[in-house]
Every structure is written in structure tokens, then in C-alpha cells.
Symmetry: C2
Subunit: 202 residues, 2 copies
């Protein structure tokens, strides 16, 4: 009975280490042996747990990446307060973790979307689905803000959501250049300025 638990533990360890290396060096430039070396495991162990490298990566997307994006960008904006206030806090803290975590430069989703685009439609579809969840949640958040009197009724929620996603994805990429702290400061400053264009004026 405990076997199943160990199995799960090993698989999760593999996925966790796998993501770190794939994220750092890219999927196609990381060999299965690279991952196994970091894990001190053998090919036998890998192909006992996973059918292929691709299936391994797909399980990482479903089990880790989705949760990561959800906990960092989606869950935090499901409150009832002023959307611009919630979004401000959410983006700021998301960028803060980026700032302090060297392994977290760039943006997991956009990095892999870039890498798999045109090569692996199945994985692209998976990754885009995560983006969609984020988008839908942003739109819902903004719409609620309208009915609650925070957001101007004439605002195009879908357009704002796209614009927010764009700027976030972009700034995460610019952060790979270094100087994440300054960039975060600039970004948040302009984001707040932009928020003024969508709130209800008092």
C-alpha cells in the first residue's frame, strides 16, 4: 500500500527537478540524461515511470505549471474588493517572487509557448488553455468590478484583460536581462497610471 505513495513521491521529485532544468535550459536542449543526472537516477527508473520525454513534460505542465500559475496569478484575484487594488497586489507580488528567484526569470508559460510554437501542437494547446483560464478570470474580476462600482461601465473588460496579460508577459521577459527590481518598480508605476483610466471617477 505504501508502494503507491513512494511511486508518487518519486514521480513528483522527477517532475519538480525536470521542470527546473527544462525551464532553465529549454525542453529541446535538455536531454533525459541531464535530468536523470541531477536526480541521480537511471534511464530504467525514468522509463519505468513515464512513457516518453514528451509525456513526462505534459505531466509537468498539468501537475506543476498549472498550479504555479493558478496560485500566483489566478487565485489571488478572486476577492471581492476593488479589482485595481487586487490586481495591483497580485502583479506586484508575482513580480517580487521573480525578483528574488533566479530560477524564475522569464515566465514559465510564455517561455514554453515560445519554444513549442510550431513544433508541438498538443503541448501548445495545453499551455494556451492555462492562458485562457487566466484570461477568463481576469475578465470576470473586471466585470465584477463594474457591478460593484469600481470599474467604469464603458470599459472593455476583454481588452483590458489582454492588455494586462500582454504587459505582464512582456515585463517578465525583459527581466531576464537583469535589473528586475528597477523594472518591477517602473512597471508597477505605469500599471497604476493605467488603472486610473479604467476606474470610476469620483
Amino acid at each position: 500500500m505504501e508502494k503507491n505513495l513512494k511511486r508518487m513521491a518519486t514521480m513528483q521529485r522527477m517532475q519538480s527537478v525536470g521542470l527546473a532544468i527544462f525551464y532553465k535550459r529549454g525542453y529541446y536542449d535538455t536531454s533525459v540524461d541531464d535530468v536523470l543526472k541531477e536526480l541521480s537516477l537511471s534511464k530504467g527508473a525514468f522509463y519505468y515511470h513515464f512513457k516518453s520525454k514528451e509525456e513526462f513534460f505534459i505531466s509537468i505542465v498539468q501537475n506543476i505549471i498549472f498550479q504555479k500559475v493558478y496560485s500566483e496569478l489566478i487565485a489571488p484575484i478572486e476577492g471581492l474588493e476593488d479589482p485595481t487594488f487586487i490586481l495591483d497586489k497580485c502583479f506586484d507580488s508575482a513580480l517580487e517572487t521573480t525578483e528574488h528567484n533566479d530560477l524564475d526569470n522569464g515566465f514559465v508559460l510564455s517561455n514554453f509557448i515560445t519554444e513549442f510554437n510550431g513544433k508541438n501542437p498538443a503541448i501548445i494547446k495545453l499551455l494556451n488553455e492555462i492562458l485562457r483560464v487566466w484570461e477568463v478570470n481576469l475578465i470576470t474580476c473586471l466585470q465584477k468590478g463594474k457591478t460593484d462600482g469600481y470599474i467604469n461601465r464603458h470599459v472593455d473588460s476583454e481588452a483590458v484583460a489582454s492588455y494586462l496579460m500582454s504587459s505582464y508577459i512582456g515585463v517578465r521577459l525583459l527581466m531576464v536581462e537583469g535589473n528586475a527590481k528597477l523594472l518591477r518598480y517602473k512597471f508597477m508605476q505605469q500599471l497604476r497610471s493605467y488603472f486610473k483610466t479604467i476606474i470610476v471617477k469620483r
Copy 2:
């Protein structure tokens, strides 16, 4: 004397085709043979003109990518008019070419920055330099807008430049999902809204 011309022509053809394939499938997932097959050339031809695959790519960055970014995003904003007007036109037309060109989804620079990040510092440095040129030009454009009475004097030009770059890079990535036309419309709409926060109010 004409030999040199032919040499240049062949090299340029190689670079042009090389960029197209690297852009589509990624650098590491494209073999030299893949490029040569498209060119109907042999290994001998390739290694006669270029020392290595890496040097080949570097020449592409310097000779093609830089020019592409320059003509699309940098040169157009060197006018004397209202910066928000110039930038509006520049971004809109840049996104329009994206919309109509299937080979042009994503953003050349950000795609490759993502791919080479953490793997090839030399190439990363090259690509970042291009970003810097873009950034400096944006800042200059905005500063001139201040002295010309278009942009509010209290605006942080560097922050605005970063924010503009971020949102553009991000929206280009979102466009790989398809529906570039709608996304462009939404983006430009919000960009114009954002511009209202930095102009001089009359």
C-alpha cells in the same frame, strides 16, 4: 571582382532562409542540414562560408534581425510630431505586418532571447543590445515630446518606455495563439487609453 558579389549574395540567401527556419522551429531544434535542404546546398557550401552554426546565427542577428527591428520599431519613431501619434502608428503597423504574415508570429527578438537565455551568453548579449537601442530611442522620443509640449513633464520616460516595450512584447506572444486581428484591435484601444495618462492636458 564579381566573385565577391556572388559570395555576398549566397551568404545573404543563406542568412535569409536560415532566419526563417530558425524563427519557425527554434535554433536548437533546427539542424544545419535542415537549412541546407531548404537551400539545396551542401555542408561543404555552408562551412565554406561560415565557421560554425553559432557564427552563422550571430551573422543573422547582426545583418538581418537588427535591421528588421530597426526598420519596424526604431526608425519610424524618429519624427518630430506628437510622440503618442507616432508611437500609435508605429505599433499599429508593426502589429499589422504580424497579422498578415504567418511567418511573423511571436516577436523575433523575444523568441530568441527566451531560447538562448541561460544557454548562450554571447548571443543573449547581442539580442539585449538591440533591445537597448529600441529602449533608448523610445526614451528619446518621449523626452523630445516633453520639450515640444506633447508629453507631460512629470512623466517618467524610462518607465513609460519599459511599459510600452513590455506590452508590445507580450501582445506579440499572445498572437501566436491565433486571432491576431482581434488582439491587435484590443491592444491598440488600450494603448490609446494609456497614452491619455502621459499627454499634456489641454
